[in-house]
Each structure stands twice: as structure tokens, then as C-alpha cells.
Symmetry: D2
Subunit: 314 residues, 4 copies
Amino acid sequence: MSPDLTAILDEIVAHMAAAEDRGTVASYIPELAKVDPAQFGIAIATADGRLLTGGDSDTGFSIQSVSKVFALTLALGKVGDQLWDRVGREPSGNAFNSIVQLEQEQGIPRNPFINAGAIVVADVNLGGHQPRVAIGEMLRFVRYLTGDDSVAINEDVAASETATGYRNMALANYMRAFANVRHPVDLVLGTYFHQCAIEMSCRQLALAGRYLMLDGRHPDGGRVVSPSRARRINALMLTCGHYDASGDFAFRVGIPGKSGVGGGILAIVPGRASIAVWSPGLNDSGNSCLGTQALELLARRTGWSVFSPPEEGD
Amino acid sequence: MSPDLTAILDEIVAHMAAAEDRGTVASYIPELAKVDPAQFGIAIATADGRLLTGGDSDTGFSIQSVSKVFALTLALGKVGDQLWDRVGREPSGNAFNSIVQLEQEQGIPRNPFINAGAIVVADVNLGGHQPRVAIGEMLRFVRYLTGDDSVAINEDVAASETATGYRNMALANYMRAFANVRHPVDLVLGTYFHQCAIEMSCRQLALAGRYLMLDGRHPDGGRVVSPSRARRINALMLTCGHYDASGDFAFRVGIPGKSGVGGGILAIVPGRASIAVWSPGLNDSGNSCLGTQALELLARRTGWSVFSPPEEGD
Amino acid sequence: MSPDLTAILDEIVAHMAAAEDRGTVASYIPELAKVDPAQFGIAIATADGRLLTGGDSDTGFSIQSVSKVFALTLALGKVGDQLWDRVGREPSGNAFNSIVQLEQEQGIPRNPFINAGAIVVADVNLGGHQPRVAIGEMLRFVRYLTGDDSVAINEDVAASETATGYRNMALANYMRAFANVRHPVDLVLGTYFHQCAIEMSCRQLALAGRYLMLDGRHPDGGRVVSPSRARRINALMLTCGHYDASGDFAFRVGIPGKSGVGGGILAIVPGRASIAVWSPGLNDSGNSCLGTQALELLARRTGWSVFSPPEEGD
Amino acid sequence: MSPDLTAILDEIVAHMAAAEDRGTVASYIPELAKVDPAQFGIAIATADGRLLTGGDSDTGFSIQSVSKVFALTLALGKVGDQLWDRVGREPSGNAFNSIVQLEQEQGIPRNPFINAGAIVVADVNLGGHQPRVAIGEMLRFVRYLTGDDSVAINEDVAASETATGYRNMALANYMRAFANVRHPVDLVLGTYFHQCAIEMSCRQLALAGRYLMLDGRHPDGGRVVSPSRARRINALMLTCGHYDASGDFAFRVGIPGKSGVGGGILAIVPGRASIAVWSPGLNDSGNSCLGTQALELLARRTGWSVFSPPEEGD
């Protein structure tokens, strides 16, 4: 029997409203530091077509690194498995913006979900075009996945990152020295910063993630990626989706997820649910504090885990 | 409909018999270097109680690091989640015997499946006893899981490691300096080396792993660990079970697994199968070359993946 | 009795002319890669006012990192020992352009003679001005030290570095993220690249270094820096002047020196000599191959070493 | 004119008696932790044969890592420059007991003055003998240098280190894995720990260091090492003698020195003085707090610095 998701969502929203430790809002992007930390939203799109929401599920937030999932999907569509010549598939063991590993491994980032890897992905998506072309393509893709043309980029956030993103500039220049960034750094970062500045609500983000729950199919029947590729993106989310807390997230929550410093997390239960949570306060690892707790509670209540027998939770 | 496992096993055995690159047998443990690389075995214990085998599935081999799964299970039974004060749960991003991370993180190993972490686990399992007590307990546990009292320790292999295990002695002494190894180093390593020297066949290993496929239950109905703990061990196997190739294994195979330098791999499909493969030749990451390929082929043919919808493969 | 420097110089020039392994010309700055490797020059300015030269001692070359000595002298004049809040004084143990240490030590470079440290020094020398002001000041300072107004900047080399200096851009942006570069990165690097592109002959460089042999005094009697500061700059040259081969240079040659990838080395024997050698081929550590050998031979023949009793060599 | 050393010594002793921050006595060797921190001694042996002392200059202390200088001298006598195939000559950039660099550089320690390097030196000095043979040889050598047969080993300190020296056991085992320690680890460390437990007073230590001030000659006229080797040992002391504070010591004091965690420092002014200072409290870098200050003050008052013109200070 399926769990009563409505009751579970109510419990989660109540629990999070009462939370005392809400983490700390990211301060390194000035525009993000302004967000009110007393917010929490959740949305679940199920495989049978329902959409359940709770809390501030219609408030837009900066998806930031969650965008790396969609950007990776696009880049794999462009260059296929050749991408893996330029980006690894291993957890990094380091923080999201670490540059140490890049030096040791000759400019090849460990995986596409740390910043360095996502910059290589942006370089692929940029191709020989202008940033606005690549950004437009990304936006159309996310709108298609969501089925909602109102998804947009917050230009203030993009400008804020462009003005202060020194670490990302360092990463991009460093990889350019190894020829693993192939287009001018400012164009690549222009693409990257705009992609990170996409604004979505939990409702929209849960809808956007449905193809990863449906083995690569859009709910409209179209194929976004092959089943094999969908599984592999899920695998990467599980092993690498939460920076140096990925192992802990897999251990405690047990489902693939990708977090962003805007406080959003997209989590996928293959065959069952695409889940978006959001709360702007971050924990020490840079992942949403309440968002992580909400997913842990949801997994416990529903029995959803990629590591449990399929009978459980059905 | 279930896949025709018999046909798939036949295909895998034939495929592996024809393989040209069989990897390289581990040379750093002299006793292991003597093993004939032209061997391959596979065994699958299914959730519905069948046992399918192929190739050299009854030949015993040194399970080596696969034993870390059973040792972890025992240690969690002794000290529960307090274990995590002394061992992390994150992929290491380094080789199995790296000491770099230990210095940076003050003697706390990244996870229980790298050597340093497994030595801490052995320290817990040793308690205040003599190594033969802890080793006896471990052997009884593995025999119980397997339902086969013939499982034994290869004393030559244990002696070989004791005589040459300088890196492990370095790791243990290093953690002793941080008081994260609490018993005399030679006793802890005595326990550890004997645990690694347990000899099992694929048939026995697949049987031993059934509790992880059955959400913590022994097929005889007894509970080995709680469902939550079983899932978490599976999660650790997925994120950390193949050293610095764990991400790649999750990406390509998509199921939790733990490898050993003896050439064995135990892999778990929750709710469906406990799989053991063995071939002594290793790839560059120190994991069984043919064993990894066999699991990848098996996953492709069966559709088994923790990242695919549950309907697939059933 | 003083050694017969003329005879020694003749021997060195002959020896270097016959050398078979001349190293490899730096290729990462395109403009430098064009230089003919079959060149070698040497000049010695002595404390008693003589100037001895040999080989291609009047051919100009790009002084590159040798400029870091003059830039450090200027910066210490501007901000004094406050500089050491932003730059360390320890050998780095890493290559000249490593970024690893910067991450571990929060954007504080190990010493002013690795690239990261020299970029901080350039940031200090830039102050709130335009690069051309800081570059003009540097050029005037070097001309004053040399007593030769013909010293100039090679604009082609400066442009070449600006176009391809991705690693330096990475370093500068990375330190900007830690607020240890305080002015816009392109202005700081503009200053830095032009300083590196100063062109001097061995004759000019040996003259420029005289203040470091004379305990901080210009031969014209003026004080360039205090005696204490001159000694400290010499100490830094000894411990940090040859990147990760500094210890070996101190061991084999035994006098303070600073090398550049243009193939020049400035070496100081306190109270006795300011020496410039140049040969464009570099060894594996990025220091002039023949230049290092020439200094080793010179030190052996003259007995000059800061580690020998003062009686020796007089 | 020579400085008035007697007056300077008086000033230094008075200054150190009034010091408030005396550092912290090393606690990781239990036997050393018992030493009274309110002690300070100094002794200067001059090239013209005088011996000046001040403070607790006749109190014995554990010379610890200062012994690495004498051990290196012995090992070079045994195997000559072949030693450098097994030990580097570069500053490490890391703490004295770091193991990180060993992993990156395949078991070759950076220099003979960090613990790992000194363990390789002890392995050389051990040869195929029993530790008591090598220890006896070392003791005879130090007594010869000192001209004092009362120099002895403190067995309590040696036993204390043997019982708790886990990090050194880790280092030795780690290098044994790379075959850069060639004899049984317990024998090598037995040699090493006894060498470190040599007890000397400042008076004795200053006498022992005279050969390094005299370009390799014993004051009795005998040659201990060649001039070239004496200079090179001095060079290593300057670049590597104070762990990761070596650069700072060279910068501030400007003369070669080797410190030990017992609080002693041996410093050499080539051609002029062999200096021993001792105070048990250590600074953050593990070097004697007052000892370092005393040497800095001495250098300032005397003008002694290898980086100043020879006329100064004479």
C-alpha cells in the first residue's frame, strides 16, 4: 500500500516550521544573502501523475547547483560519453569549490557536480556560440521539462555572481591552462552563472525532475534521455550530489539528490517520485539544513530508499 | 517477468572465458600472487530462495576486503552508531591504502571500507579480547550467514600479510597516535589480517550476503540487522565499496558492491539478489577486472539497478 | 688572496660552450619559446667595483621571476613588514605555479618568490594606481640600480603572457576570493606581466644586484634598503629562490640566488659579488640548466659560499 | 672588532629570565613533559677557542632532533652521496612528523632533518648490526666531537619514546613498504629513539658543533668531514633545520641551526662560532621559544649572519 503522502507532507511542514536550527543563508553571493531564512517548501511529483505540495512551494528560489543536473543532461545529449574524457565520475572528497584536486589530476574535474566539472559542462553547452544562445537553450529545456514557460533567470543573481565569483574564475582559468576549458573564460562563466541563476519554485522543480523518475521519459511520452542514461545521472546524484556530504546523504536518506546553495534540493525515487525541497539556510557542508532533514524524514515515513527491497514502500 | 538468469549466467561465463585482458593478480601479498588468473566464478542467491552458479563457483578464494562488510555489521551490533564517531561515511577520493587523508582529518578514516576504516572496525571488534576470540566470533558469524560450517581462514595468507603488511602497520600506528586505535597495534592487525584471510567460494559468499538483499533478515527468518541498518550498509557499499572507483562502479553497474584484492566482489540487489563474482586479475583501481565486467553485463541483461524504476526487471 | 676571477670566468664559458645537455627552453610563454638555446652569458660585479663578463653577457633576455627580487624590495619600501601579513616566508615545497598550498592556507602564499606571492607583491606595488604608474616606478627603480637607462620592457613578451597566463589568472582570482588580492585582477596581472617582461643583459643584471651584496647600499653611496632588510632578502633568495629546487641549490651552490624562466639567475655573495648568469634552457625544476651549473662551478673555484668560514675565498 | 660576547651573553640571559611567554613543553613524549620550563642556557664556542656560557648551560637536556645533524654526518661517512638516492634535500613545507609528502613522493623523505628522513639515516647507520652497535658508535662520535666522555643516553626518555612513538612507527613502516627502510622497523626505531635520547648540556652541545664552524675540522686538528660536506650540512641546517619554520628562522636569525623538541638548538656561524641554546618551552612550530629569541638577539647584537658581508661583525 502506498504511504499517505498528504499526511506525511503535513507532518514534515509542521516539523520544519518548529525547527530551531535552520542553518545559515549563503553569504558569498551577495544577492542570495538577502533571502529570508524562515521559509520552507516541498513538492512531490509522483509517477502516477499526482503533484503534492506543502509550505512555500510556490515561492521561487535560485536553483544554483541543482541546474548542474539539467546542464549535464543537455551536454550528454550533445557530446555523449565523450564528455567523460573531460570530467570524471568519482566523488571528490573535497568541498564544492576546491581547486586542489584539479592540480593533482591535470585539470580534469572529479565529477560534473562540483563547480569545476559544471564549468566544463558549461563549456560543452556553450559550444562555439554566444552565451545567450546556450542560456536560451538551457531555459527552453527546463521549461519543457517543467511544462511551465514562466521559468526565468534572475538577472540580479547572475550579475551578483559575475561580479564576485572569483573562485569560479580561478577554477575556469586553471582548467583553461590545461585546455579543458576551450572557450573564453568570460563566455563560459557567463553561461554558467546564468544557468545557476535560474529561478524555480519547488512545484516547478519537482515537475522538472520527472524524467529522472521515469527512466528518461517525459510524462508527455517523449524521451528526454535513454533509460541507461537516466539511471547513470541518478547514480551520479547519489554518489556526488551533495559535495563532501554525498556519502552521508546516501547513508541517511538513501535516494539520489542534488543540492544548491540557494537552499533547494531535487531528489529522485526511481519509478516513484520526483521531489523538490527548499529552505535557504545551509548546514556546514553547504546543503540545505531543513531540506536535508525533510528528505530524511520523508524517506523514513515512506520507506523510499534505493537500498530497500522494492516491495517495501509500495 | 523475471529475467532468465540461467541463460544470462551461461552468457556471462562464456564471455569471461573468452576475455583477453584479465587484469593483474595482486602481488603485494605474496601468498595471493600465486593464484591462477585464468579462473572466473559467479553465484547468485535470489530473494525467492534459488541459488544459481557458473564457472569456478565452488573454488575458494581469499575474500580480503569483502570481509569489511561482515566486520562492519558485527561492529555496528556491538557499539551501534557510536562507531561513526570514529569512522566517517564519505567516499575517500583516494586509493584504498592512502594515509594522506588520515593526517588531514586527525586520524578519522573516511569510511569503514578503506583499510584505515576497517582497522578501526577491527579495533572495535577486538574489544579487550585476544585476537583469536574476535577472529572466532567473526568466523562463526560468517558461517551462520552462509549456513556452511566449512568456511575457514587460510593461515598461510594471514601469515603472509602479517609479514609484509607494512602499510597497514603504518595506518594502524598512525591512528594509534590519534587514539583512534585503542588496542595494541599487533593485536588489532592480527584480527584484521585473519579476517581478510577468510576463504570462501562464490557460492558461499553469495549465500553470506543474503541478509543485505532481505532488508536485514536471515533467510531462516532471524534478524541479522534492522532494515534501516541493512539499507545503510548497502548505501556505504554503493558510495565507498570500490575505493576510488566507487563512483564509476555506481555509474556503470548501479548496484551496491564490495570488492577485495583477492578478486572477489559481493554485490547486492535489494529485494532481489545477492551476487558473488570472482576472478583474481585486478584492474588499475584494484578491483577484479572480469568480476566488474561480469556485474556490468549482469546488470544490463537483468535491468537490475537501484537507479531504475522497480517495475523494470521484475 | 682573491681568486683569479678572469681565469675562472674563462673556464666557465669554455665549459658551458661544450655542454651537451642544455635543458629545454620554456614553452608556456610563446614569445620565450623562440629564444636560441645555444647562448650563455655571465657577469660578476665585485664589491671592490670591478665588473667581469663572459659569453653572451650583453645580450638582453627576459628576466621574468628575477624581477620578483626588485618588486619585493619596492613593496617592502612601501608597506614594510606589514607585507608579511599577506605573504609567508617559508619554502613552498611545491612547483612555482602550484595552487594547492593556497587553498590549504586560505589564500596566503608561502613566500614572495612563488608566482602567487609575487602577485600579492604586485598588488601592493600597484596600490590604487594604474598599471602604467606601477610599471614606470619599477622600471625607474631597476634603471637606478643598474645605472643604465636603456633597461626596458619587451612589450611582445608582456602581451604573450597576458594572452596565455591562465594559471596566473587562476592564482590571482583565487587570492582575490580571499581578499588577498585587493585590486582588479587584470590591473594586478598587467603590472605583474610587465614586470616579468623587463629585459636585461647579464651585465645589467649583475649591476642591478649590487645593493644586495653591499648590505643594502647602492655603490653610489645611497641606501637602497637597511642592512637588516638586505640580509633578509638574501635569506629569502637562499631558502625560496629556486622554487622546489631551492634546497638543492643551497646545498650544491651555497649562495642566495633567484632564477627566472627566461633562463637568468641573479646570485649574491654578501660582501663580495653580485653575479648574473643566463642560458635559456631550463632543467626539470624550471631553473636555467647551464646557469645553475655555472654558479656551482664558480662557487667551487672561488670557495664562495655563505656556509664557509669568511677566511676561505678571501 | 669582535663584539663583546660576554656582555651580549649577560644581556641575553637577563632578557630571557624576564620573558613572560616561555612556550609550552613538548607533551607527546611523557618523559619530556616533566621538565621545568623555567630554564634557559646558552653556550658559545668560538673559532679562536674560547667557550662562553650563560644561564643553565651545564644542565643536561634531551637533544632529540639536534642529534639528526650528528647522525647525518655519520651516515654520509658510511655511504657518501648515495644517501641522497634515499633522502631529498628540500625543505618539506610540512610539519616535522607529516606523512603526506611520503605518500606523494613514494617513500622518499624530503630531507634528513624531518623525522622520516632521520629514520632513513638511522637505517643507514644501523647497517646489518644490532641497535646497540649503532648506538655505541653514535655515542662515541658525539663524545669525540665534544671531547667529553660523560655524554650519555637517558634510557627513560628512550623507553618513553619507544612506548609512545606511534607516528614514528607509522613513518618507518610506511617507508618499509617502499623498501626505503631496509632493516626491521623495531631495530631501526630502537637506534633512532636512543640517538634522540642523548643528553647534553649547552656547553657540551656547543663543543660538539665546532667541526661545522671549522669547515669540517675538529679543533684537535683532525678532519671530521671535508670542507665541502661541512658547508652542505650547514646549508641543510639553514634550509631545513626548523621544520616548517625554517624559512622564518633563516629570515630572522640568518644562520644555520637545528632544533629539537627537547628545547635545544645548535646554531653555526661558519668561521666564527658554534652556539647551543636551550629552553624547554616550544613555540607553535615545535622549536624552542626562548632559544629562538636568544639566537635572534645574539645575531642582531653580533651582526652574525651568513647573509651579511664578512667585514660586518669582525
